[in-house]
């Protein structure tokens, strides 16, 4: 059994997996989250993301010209139109902008590639789990 020597070696090594988010399983996950929010407990850090990682999308509304190319290439149809009222002098002008539903996003960053004004980019943020898929932090305006 060549496996036995390997098993013995592994016994004295540090665990291979990164213990995230807590070193040991908390008795109650909700309790742990509350303790973290209150600053009483700390989250064990996740494995750092590599450069050019594709995480939650960033959107700079002011740069957007409303061309709609991102809507055209989005494979999951996570991007939809929205109209914004912008004050131009005295008049209010309706301008076309987009709204991105992160819960539908498949993180391919195709919209980032096609955007002519570079107003879309991918961040490092990946802790996006939420009970409500339409939560405010999952809709990028």
């Amino acid at each position: 059994m060549p496996a036995i020597t390997e098993v013995w070696k592994v016994l004295f090594k540090r665990p291979f997996t990164n213990r995230f988010p807590a070193k040991y399983a908390p008795r109650s996950v909700h309790g742990f989250v509350r303790r973290v929010q209150a600053g009483k407990a700390k989250i064990a850090p996740p494995v750092p993301t590599p450069p050019n990682f594709r995480g939650k999308i960033n959107y700079e509304v002011d740069k957007c010209i409303g061309c709609g190319l991102c809507i055209r290439v989005c494979p999951t149809k996570a991007i939809v139109w929205r109209t914004v009222e912008v004050e131009q002098g005295e008049k209010k002008v309706a301008k076309k902008k987009v709204k991105i539903f992160v819960s539908r996003c498949c993180f391919c960053s195709q919209c980032v590639d096609i955007c002519p004004k570079d107003c879309l980019s991918m961040s490092d943020e990946f802790l996006l789990a939420n009970e409500d898929k339409l939560a405010n932090e999952l809709i990028v305006l």
């Binding site: 059994m1 060549p2 496996a3 390997e6 098993v7 592994v10 291979f16 590599p50 450069p51 050019n52 990682f53 594709r54 190319l69 055209r72 290439v73 989005c74 494979p75 999951t76 498949c106 993180f107 391919c108 960053s109 195709q110 590639d113 096609i114």
Partner: protein, 414 residues
């Protein structure tokens, strides 16, 4: 054992579980523990992927849809699709893009084969090897994440090239992963191929003869383990494989003989990991400079594809075998006119019939796993006693337990 009606049972294995990618139903006729008849019923999960590609999406959106045909082969499917679209639209791919595609496809092969080795070990109850190979697999997953930006759905394919270049740092990261596997390869080989338990459970089990493999059109490692030197990378080279020169790996290179059993399939897959390491080294050494995509402007590309008319076929050697996509484009329409996907598991399911004939029920998990299908199919098994019309259910866990017990029983008698 005497043949009598009372001793004959039919065990339907499968068919559907919501988490499956390829649900399948196996009807096994058993006499005691021996399997005397096998029937396979396919096509139980229709997700309408081809329909979506023909009605809802444009060509660029289809790349990401093709990526989601299979979670493990998520480079080969889009690779295959973009090859077909490029042929249909007459797009010439830059040479550097061909090399990058080859490198990413081979990285995927390493991860897929290591994942499979773990699953196969788990099926015979050898969880030490299962955890060991999956821990080893993390290194290539990290390298893939570094190069493409994501661990699983890599999103690197683009019609006419690739989306990310292999820079100096990325090349270093890949070389580091390859060095890691070169160091560890002997240990994997020792753990898997020289182990008495694995040899006992897999030698002369699930034999597929060369004739049957040819007759049933087996593809990939299953066909090669039966002595059919069939490999798309060798027969119809695409990407950079023509420059590198890939030879199909047969098990007799290692064991000196071809039996076509589960052990031979393990040998072929492990040797292919070694071959993939060599291919990536060669590709990284000879990668030419230049563009990585034929048309940088995606808006121009979209209108070019809208104007294109024609048909194309993409053939790619996926980790499980030959993958084929057929695409037809019509002028003035963004979605494909037709899109047909033939995944390798489709061919490798029928060989289950000769493999399972004469085997025991406890061998079903490892024999089925040896073709690398989606194994969750075995989640529910109903055993019907034909004479008394009595039904009872064999779960996947129970079947797994039977398999583990067989390993223990064999160990005791050594």
């Amino acid at each position: 054992m005497e043949m009598s009606d009372e001793a004959l049972y039919t065990i339907p294995v499968g068919p559907v579980h919501p988490a499956l990618k390829e649900p399948i139903e196996l009807d096994l006729r058993v006499e005691g523990e021996r399997i005397v008849g096998v029937d396979v019923k396919c096509s139980q999960a229709h997700r309408g992927i081809e329909w979506l590609g023909m009605n809802r999406n444009n060509s660029i959106q289809n790349i990401y849809l093709a990526e989601r045909v299979c979670g493990i082969c998520n480079v080969c499917h889009p690779y295959c699709m973009v090859l077909a679209v490029e042929e249909a639209a007459g797009i010439e791919v830059p040479e550097r893009a061909d090399y990058i595609r080859t490198i990413v496809a081979e990285m995927e092969r390493i991860h897929s084969h290591l994942l499979w080795a773990g699953v196969a070990a788990h099926e015979i109850g050898f969880d030490t090897v299962f955890h060991y190979t999956w821990a080893l697999r993390e290194e290539i997953m990290d390298a893939i994440e570094y190069v493409t930006g994501n661990r699983v759905t890599k999103g690197i394919m683009m019609i006419g090239g690739v989306r990310r270049d292999i820079t100096k740092e990325r090349e270093e990261r890949i070389r580091k992963a390859l060095r890691y596997y070169e160091e560890k390869f002997e240990k994997i080989e020792d753990l898997v191929l020289h182990d008495k338990t694995i040899r006992m459970r897999t030698r002369n089990v699930g034999i597929l003869t060369r004739e049957d493999a040819l007759k049933l059109c087996a593809v990939g490692p299953v066909a090669r383990a039966s002595g059919v030197p069939k490999d798309v990378r060798q027969d119809y080279p695409y990407g950079a494989y023509a420059d590198i020169g890939v030879r199909a790996i047969l098990p007799d290179q290692y064991t000196g003989e071809i039996i076509g059993d589960v052990y031979d399939r393990i040998v072929v897959r492990l040797l292919e990991v070694k071959q993939s390491i060599q291919i990536i080294h060669d590709a990284l050494d000879n990668i030419p400079q230049g563009d990585i995509v034929a048309e940088k402007n995606l808006v121009k590309l979209l209108s070019m594809l809208k104007r294109a008319e024609g048909e194309g076929i993409g053939r790619v050697e996926a980790p499980r075998g030959e993958d084929i996509h057929y695409v037809r484009l019509r002028q003035g329409e963004e979605p494909f006119l037709s899109w047909k996907i033939r995944a390798p598991t489709y061919n490798n399911v029928l060989p289950w019939i000769p493999m399972l004939l004469g085997a025991e029920i406890a061998d079903v998990p490892i024999v089925a796993a040896s073709t690398d299908p989606c194994m969750s199919c075995l989640n529910r098994v109903t055993v019907v006693d034909e004479s008394s019309r009595k039904e009872f259910t064999l779960t996947k866990e129970r079947m797994h337990e039977m398999s583990v017990r067989k390993t223990r029983r064999m160990m005791r008698h050594v």
